[in-house]
């Protein structure tokens, strides 16, 4: 179980880099869906034994992060007929390099943290997912890519939360999951409106409001 959990965590890191290195939005969404699937199977693997709590949390996560939200984002790009990220603020090679840097930093930081958690890979993978999420959010100009970045940021925090999963009650996890779902849903609706208003879902068009 432990070995499988570590394998899955490494796969999560790979999906992080998949999002960083691609310009095709559909590939980004596929990667984030796969990440959701991995995240959903982790509660069971981390806990190492069957429990209703872990199973329900896992299924809920898969339903929201691997099925519903990716389907919704796919709908958004189909409606807006956008395929590619055009002009990221930071190029793809540079993003990948920054990602590698973030990976190194995460392991360095996690190594120095007081270890109260037993899963040794969980904390660094959580940190790197969080940082790469932020990077995507800041450097990509398409609104859909920014939503993907936000989801990765949330996923990183979710991974960190898994270290505490036995202590935080199920109801709250459900609440957190619901909030994330609604947040992305509202963002998706705004993305749809941005598309209708500007004929493209580039958040870079949103630059009218500023100090004079």
């Amino acid at each position: 179980m432990r070995a499988l959990a570590e394998l899955f965590l490494l796969l999560v890191v790979l999906t992080d880099f998949a999002v960083l290195g691609t310009s095709r939005l559909s590939a980004c969404i596929r990667a984030i869906a796969l990440q959701g699937l991995l995240l959903g199977s982790l509660p069971l693997l981390v806990e190492g034994a069957w429990s209703v709590h872990a199973a329900v949390l896992g299924l809920g996560t898969i339903a929201v992060k691997a099925v519903l939200l990716p389907a919704f984002l796919r709908w958004a790009i189909r409606e807006a007929s956008v395929r590619r990220e055009v002009e990221p603020l930071v190029g793809y090679m540079a993003s990948l390099l920054l990602g590698a840097l973030a990976l190194g930093a995460s392991f360095a930081v996690a190594h120095r943290l007081p270890q109260s958690a037993d899963a040794s890979l969980l904390v660094p993978v959580a940190l790197v997912t969080l940082m790469i999420g932020l990077l995507v959010l800041i450097t990509r100009s398409k609104a859909v890519s920014q939503v993907v970045g936000y989801l990765m940021l949330e996923n990183g925090i979710y991974l960190f939360g898994l270290t505490q999963t036995r202590r935080v009650p199920f109801l709250l996890e459900a609440g957190v999951l619901l909030d994330v779902f609604v947040a992305v849903f509202v963002m998706g609706i705004v993305v749809f409106h941005i598309n209708r208003e500007f004929d493209s879902i580039s958040a870079a068009n949103l630059a009218e409001l500023r100090e004079y």
């Binding site: 932020l134 925090i157 609440g175 909030d179 963002m187 941005i194 409001l209």
Partner: protein, 481 residues
């Protein structure tokens, strides 16, 4: 039971308002729900130590103060919204009551949560509940505003969630330490791991600070308040920021007994002073009155953080300032909304001669100007005075001096714009002066009530209120005068 009702009544109201077929029904629901909520909160003042759901919901002085502020602001906003919606489309009259009720439910949940993860769930819900209202005008500018608001707030709130998880990690797994329950955290503060606790606080100040709009995390604020309908702006600047302050205060409440006050306080003071500085820089020379109010909100949340960080009398001032700032912001946004409506623009140079055109709103704006700049005899004078003298008493003369200097600059900036709006003769832009007309009573009743409250708070604090303020300050390591 009562605690659950305070959260569930507005939640139910949201569902009913969405389902109700007619506008009149929805308006009646909005005012009825707001009144019921206020009555329930009033009832809560007469009880002590109510808890529900194994301590997850509980009432304490600090939570009750924020809850009461939100409830009073809400009833004023609801009454204003009913008048505002009379001339609007059916779609609006469905979206407004639903979102407003959802906001009230979420804000009540935040005020009553003694479980920090539950508090987070409520905080996120308040963020989302007002998003559709910001996009009210359905044009490019409001679209841009709502996108910035959503992205920045969501990132902020996500980091606050990380802070909650870090706090859980700091807690040892022993009996008597139920995870993330505030009362257990405070009681067993000495056993918390300080390294994780420090990390938790840093993320809490960034996360909740984004929601409060502390500089440099305030960039969503001018755009959002500038574009949102003014009644929504008032509710956000008065209510939502206070809820976010409560979140930050809850973390402070844990850190101080854990012996990390020396770590948390300088951070809070730094964020506070920087917010004042940024507010002063952008208020002077500001051209848009709603954006000016947004920067004024940056200033006042800065004062809250500053007071919280100073400890002693300063913290008492901050708790009192939560109320004063909330009411004054409600007053200013509604009155400015009236004037913007009268002249059809929020560009300050195009709003002139309002004393003749809209005398009641103009006078109320003058009251708001005095109050927001901390002049006696209004409430904010007392709380700002407490914060500054707190700084002197805690031996931070430089903090006190720079605060006073920045407050003075901000006063000049705000007064210059608002006095022109009230008294300006419009010689440069004659079209800016609309024909004098009587204002509808719904436009001025709410602001008048708020002006009255702000005046009373400056002259006399009732005994129960004083006791609650002192108690709330004490839980945050402060002391009443």
């Amino acid at each position: 039971m009562l605690l659950a009702a305070i959260v569930l009544v507005p939640a139910l109201g949201a569902a009913l308002a969405y389902a109700a077929p007619r506008r009149a029904t929805r308006s009646a629901l909005l005012v009825g729900g707001a009144t019921l909520h206020l009555l329930l909160v009033g009832w809560l003042w007469t009880t002590t130590g109510a808890t529900a759901f194994a301590g997850w919901l509980a009432v304490d002085a600090l939570g009750l103060l924020v809850l009461s502020l939100v409830s009073v602001l809400f009833i004023v906003t609801a009454q204003y919204a009913v008048g505002h919606l009379r001339g609007e489309s059916t779609r609006d009259s469905r979206v407004y009551p639903t979102c407003l009720f959802a906001f009230l439910a979420a804000a009540s949940l935040v005020s009553l949560s003694h479980h920090l993860a539950l508090l987070w769930v409520g905080m996120e819900a308040t963020t989302l509940s007002v998003a559709p209202l910001i996009y009210d005008r359905h044009d490019r500018r409001s679209l841009e505003a709502v996108w910035k608001y959503l992205v920045l707030s969501s990132v902020g709130i996500a980091l606050a969630l990380l802070a909650v998880f870090l706090l859980a990690t700091a807690q040892p797994s022993v009996a008597g330490q139920r995870p993330l329950l505030l009362d257990d955290l405070v009681a067993g503060a000495a056993s918390l791991d300080p390294r994780w606790l420090r990390a938790a606080f840093v993320f809490a100040i960034v996360g909740f600070g984004t929601k409060m709009g502390l500089a440099p995390l305030h960039t969503w604020k001018p755009d959002t308040y500038g574009e949102a309908p003014s009644l929504v702006g008032g509710l956000m600047a008065g209510g939502l920021t206070s809820c976010a302050f409560l979140g930050l205060a809850r973390f402070t409440q844990v850190l101080i007994p854990a012996g990390l006050g020396t770590f948390a306080r300088p951070l809070l003071v730094a964020f506070g002073l920087f917010s004042l500085l940024v507010a002063a820089a952008f208020i002077i020379g500001q051209a848009d009155v709603k954006r000016l109010l947004a920067y004024s909100s940056v200033e006042h949340v800065g004062l809250l953080a500053l007071g919280l960080g100073l400890g002693g009398l300063g913290t008492y001032g901050a708790v009192l300032h939560v109320l004063n700032n909330g009411f004054v912001k409600g007053l200013l946004f509604l009155v400015v909304g009236n004037l913007v409506l009268a002249s059809g623009t929020s560009a300050a140079t195009d709003i002139r001669g309002m004393l003749r055109a809209r005398p009641v709103s103009a006078l109320l704006l003058f009251v708001g100007l005095l109050a927001v700049s901390g002049s006696p005899p209004f409430g904010p004078f007392l709380s700002e005075f407490a914060i500054v003298s707190g700084a002197i008493r805690e031996h931070h003369p430089w903090v006190a001096a720079s605060t006073l200097l920045l407050l003075g600059l901000i006063f000049i900036g705000i007064a210059r714009m608002m006095l022109e709006m009230i008294l300006g003769d419009g010689r440069s832009a004659p079209s800016a002066v609309p024909a004098p007309s009587r204002e509808a009573s719904w436009m001025v009743a709410g602001p008048m009530a708020l002006a009255g409250i702000v005046l009373v708070l400056g002259l006399w604090l009732p005994r129960p209120l004083r006791e609650h303020l002192a108690q709330a300050a004490a839980t945050l390591g402060g002391s009443a005068p």
